[in-house]
Assembly symmetry: C2
């Protein structure tokens, strides 16, 4: 018997590809109308919705030899979901534009779609629609929607005296990237390599915050802690001091020793872990999942143990280095 | 004096590029929070919102030698706005992901941004946020939001006996593309070439429909009239017959004569004009801007003057031909 099932996107065709991305999947109730019409329709019970968008480009944001198709799909959804959650909103749905060469294997599509839906399900949302186009390399553009569960938590609300806190891991994705860049066997450091391949934003630390939690500012750590805390400091017109003792992570030490690196560099400047960084009013007992890592004061800028740090602060899209 | 203003995106940097895309622009009231935080916040006064997304890839959906930066920005917004309007919704905002090489001229960015904002303004919306990334070629991914002004008008509502009607031009974009492909001087046929560079969806023909207009199905013509009317026929489980006498367009005749083409091919299968095609209940006097082009009957499929047409029906993203 000959297997006549399509092996590439060219054989699948545009409408076959679209079907592959959504047929047989269950939409969450917030998606009132899913794929198949000119546009999707989503519920916005609060009378407003939160929206964020991110584009991932092959060989820039992922590499086919370092990540599985499923990893790439999960990562694309996770980093967008983290932006929505970083407003204090619950993800409701995603739309995904997918560009690929005609010779892209159908197996790639299937893994990618599986990863997207799994991560969307993890945040209680679904893929409400999208677009597929021909492109010379893989391009994934995701737009995420969220339902504000509270007044949106902005970058600009930190006040002198507030406590700075973090939920989730810092530096793991950067450590994993360093392992891969150095050509080490990923199996020796599976934790950090997995963290690089698919971030695991601690969504619940935000979504389960008590209604009366005195959270004053919030962001996700996508450019590096120094850079993202810097955005809070700048938007809030305050100074922030970080306490390195509080953000040490002994699990990174063996990787750092092997590579001769300082793990605090990964922790302070590594992006893509999509941990959450926030400020809480002084006196607020930190909710579950949050660790105190610094404090807010009058002034401007970010210091580490009282000292202003020089050197690169985080990711910059058009720099040559990365 | 030396001009030290940045000339490329590399010199501008990521945050300079982001600023270039939104600083000094006025958001419409529906955009409650614009660029600058982790996500934007938009109003959804109806308690639901319409969303559509489309990706444009350089040399596939536009060519730098055929379109100005401003044309490309306007086209990216127009084709997404048309999808939202094709649900019977009024566009409220857009988010835009923009991928480009570091050596992209700042002049390109400025023209592109101007085109986006001009077209967004034309539909009463604004650019609420986005993402900028490094990519080996220009990629534009737009997601459009809309506020349903009526119960969303789907593909699936056509009924036997309904009248098929079109608002806007058909075949102009395809004729313009044919002129450019043939290497003719665009100045000889400026109307169709302009239509190819920037579609002009007749938004008002939908947005100004009376509340009680008996519109039963609606789509925008992006894949070609036969293909898009085919989507209505298939979704509604009906047959549709188109009347070529009603869709003739004498303005295309000189172009067709010059190129030795049949203008009815452009009219029936040309995509990208983003005209609107709809069905109205029998007896409905057609609202302003709409022309009767056919009728709905029991059965399945699309016929032209009673005859089933063979051959390609419209755009297919992964075919080799176009």
């Amino acid at each position: 018997m000959t297997d006549t099932s399509p092996r590439t996107v060219r054989e699948l065709g545009e409408f076959g590809l679209i079907a592959r991305m959504s047929t047989g999947r269950a939409q969450v109730p917030a998606v009132l109308l899913g794929p198949g019409d000119d546009a999707a329709v989503l519920a916005a019970p609060d009378g407003r919705f939160v929206v964020s968008t991110d584009m991932l480009v092959q060989d820039r944001h992922f590499r086919l030899d370092w990540s599985s198709p499923c990893d790439i799909g999960a990562k694309a959804i996770a980093q967008n979901a983290a932006d929505v959650v970083a407003m204090g909103a619950a993800p409701s749905g995603f739309v995904v534009s997918f560009g690929c060469p005609p010779d892209t294997p159908v197996d790639f599509v299937d893994g990618f779609v599986e990863g997207m839906w799994a991560e969307a399900g993890r945040v209680g949302a679904s893929i409400a629609g999208g677009d597929v186009v021909r492109a010379p390399l893989l391009i994934v553009s995701v737009t995420a929607f969220g339902d504000p569960r509270r007044t949106p938590v902005l970058l600009s609300g930190a006040q002198p005296g507030d406590v700075v806190a973090v939920a989730g891991r810092l530096g793991w994705s950067a450590a994993g990237l360093a392992v891969l860049n150095a050509g080490l066997d990923p199996a020796r450091f599976p934790g950090v390599v997995a963290a690089h391949r698919v971030p695991q934003p601690p969504y619940r630390a935000v979504l389960d915050l008590p209604d009366d939690a005195a959270i004053t500012s919030l962001t996700d750590v996508s450019d590096g802690l120094l850079a993202d805390i810097g955005h809070i400091a700048e938007s809030s017109c305050v100074a922030i001091d970080l306490d390195t003792a509080a953000i040490r992570d002994e699990e990174l030490d063996p990787v750092a020793r092997e590579l001769g690196e300082d793990p605090s560099d990964w922790i302070l400047t590594g992006g893509e872990d999509h941990a959450f960084a926030a400020t809480f009013a002084a006196g607020q007992v930190l909710p579950a999942g949050w660790t105190r890592v610094g404090r807010v004061a009058d002034g401007a800028g970010v210091t580490v143990d009282g000292v202003r740090r020089s050197g690169p602060g985080g990711w910059e899209s058009f720099s040559e280095g990365r």
